[in-house]
Each structure stands twice: as C-alpha cells, then as structure tokens.
Point group: C2
Chain length 119, copies 2
C-alpha cells in the first residue's frame, strides 16, 4: 500500500458530511470528512468513535457537555452516547471506526452518507 | 473523558521509543511516541499497525521498500510485515494498535518498552 497524505486526499472531494475511507487497519477504517454547520443528533450503539481534527475547529455536542476540538486535538465519543457534531466554519476531520459504521448511526435521514467510499 | 491535545501531551515526556497511551477506542489504543535514530527490526504477527506523523519526519524500512512519512502523513504496516522505523531527527508520531501490542513485536530486546503506560 501507499502512504496517505491527508492534505492531498482532502483536495479530491468537496462534499460535506460524506466520509471518505483513506485506510483500513484490521477491521477498522480511517475516514476523512469535511464538515460545516450542524450534523444530526445520533449515536453508535456498538462502537466508540474517534474524532481527530486535521484542519479548522469543530464541536461535539452531547447531552451533558460540549467538547470543542482544534487542529491537533482528538476526542473519543463513547459508544451509545448521543452526539451532534458541528462546525461554524468548514473543518476537516479524521474519523476512526469499525468497517461498516454508518455516519448517522441509529438515526437514518437525509444526512446518511453512502458507506465505504474510498478516496 | 477529556479531549486530547497532542502537542500538550508531548510536553509531558521525553524518552524515546516509549509509547504513551493517550486514548482508547473499543479495544484499540492511540499512543504518542517520540523517536530518533534507528529502532529494531520487528513484526507484529496478529495486527496491522498505523503510523501517523504528528511532527517531523520518519521512515519505515521494510524488506522490499522504504516509506518516508512527513507531518500529516499516515501508513499502515500490514500484519506480519518485518519493519524498522527510523528518524534522522527527533520525530513525534501517533500509533494505533490493539491494546496489548508490544512495541518490539516478536523481537524482545533492550528497546522493548513497558506496555500500557498512559500520559
């Protein structure tokens, strides 16, 4: 396999809230996502979810607290935790989660993205 | 849990080739490591291993090729692949691997670090 350069991969798509797989490790996937404005409240019943900010800043709203992440910061949303990501300005993030996880979790809707799309 | 700021965590230790766990996701761990010069040839028989460069640059020598990674680049060493990381200048990296993985894999030696040390 080739190495992955995040900045280079991010030049290859512009749609928001549409995760692009850049690598797999065992049965986990690393996905780049461009986000802006509000996502939908959702949860993942079977897995934790890792957010790493590659560029910009974002927040993760949860029931009892809101975490704000800047570039070079990471957060693990525990499994089963209802959360809503949002970004005031466009933000580029790296997600880590098991293969097969749907972006909107248990909350199917218009923001549900096709799964397993590579870039 | 709190968010993780990689730069802030990296101020908390200086020893080389000694992974520090910063987060867990399911049964996987995210570990920061400071590296300089050569590591030992080794392999992990049961798992892929993710390298992400946070600061500086490094190389991963393998039997048939050598991959050089700069800041913002990532590589997945496939399981069972003999590899030797090295860095001409000090480099700071983020590793992702299952809980319990030993840094020197199947090659126990003086570079084998204590496992599961958090920072």
């Amino acid at each position: 396999m080739a190495k992955i350069n995040f900045a280079e991969k991010l030049t290859k798509f512009n749609d928001l809230w549409s995760p692009r797989v850049v690598a797999e490790m065992n049965d986990y996937q690393f996905k780049l996502v461009k986000i802006h404005d509000e996502f939908t409240w959702h949860q993942h019943e079977d897995t934790d979810e890792v957010f790493i900010v590659v560029k910009g800043s974002m927040s993760i709203e949860m029931e009892h607290e809101t975490i704000t992440l800047d570039e070079g910061e990471m957060y693990v949303v525990p499994k089963g935790t209802v959360h809503k990501p949002f970004a005031e300005h466009e933000c580029h993030i790296l997600l880590v989660e098991p293969r097969g996880v749907v972006n909107t979790g248990e909350t199917d809707g218009e923001l549900t993205a096709e799964n397993n799309v590579w870039v």
